[in-house]
Amino acid sequence: MPIVRVQEADFDIGRELDALTRGRTDVGALASFTGLVRAANEGSAVTSMTLEHYPGMTERALEDICREAHSRWQLIDTLVIHRVGPLRPGDRIVLVGVSSAHRGEAFAACEFIMDYLKTRAPFWKREETPAGSRWVEARESDEQAARGWE
């Protein structure tokens, strides 16, 4: 089952992943990905960033991506938590968790969800640098990674 949350607050990785398996005996594999704010991007220091999103569409897009993962692999649960608002270097941005009976499905689905999130979920990063603030440009390498699943 897909579980999707978009929130300003931080999340506890251990607690969130633990909740995916608590009380179950059918989960044999739990894969996860955590994305964090780096202190440098495109050759300049990043002092903080703000994540804007499209309320309503964001949740729908993430649920669609998780449902697509469930249709491609034998999964038990998928979890996406994505933060919005002001963030600083070292802060967690996104957590993806995937549970399944075996590791192959969990690894693949976790990477798939991130690749699709990067190109299809309506989030935009604005970085503060010593030279001023700038919108982060989309990367062609992210588009290529997403196309690799088609």
Binding site: G35, L51, E52, H53, Y54, G56, M57, R60, A61, D64, H82, I93, V94, M114, L117, K118, T119, R120, A121, P122, F123, W124, K125, R126, W135, V136, E137, A138
Partner: protein, 84 residues
């Protein structure tokens, strides 16, 4: 009428986040709406100039130029996404 939303860098360049636009004709498409926005002055013609990278969603799902529009639809324009 359709509701048109703008996000992120596109919202900043255009100086607006939301407006209501009358549909020029029945059987209209995203393409026809983009044409009408491009025909406006200044930042509008530049933001929607051919070759400019933007994305569009209709009723909160990714769409393209051929997507049909109906009265009451919510159309959103935004730059390529950069989450994660």
């Amino acid at each position: 009428m359709v509701t048109v939303l703008f996000f992120a860098g596109l919202r900043e360049r255009l100086g607006t986040s939301r407006e209501t636009v009358p549909l020029a004709a029945p059987n209209t498409t995203v393409s026809m709406l983009v044409e009408s926005l491009r025909n406006r002055e200044g930042a509008w013609s530049e933001a929607f100039a051919p070759g400019k990278a933007w994305r569009v969603a209709v009723n909160q799902r990714m769409a393209d130029l051929a997507t049909p529009l109906n009265a009451g639809d919510e159309v959103a324009f935004f730059p390529p996404v950069t989450g994660g």
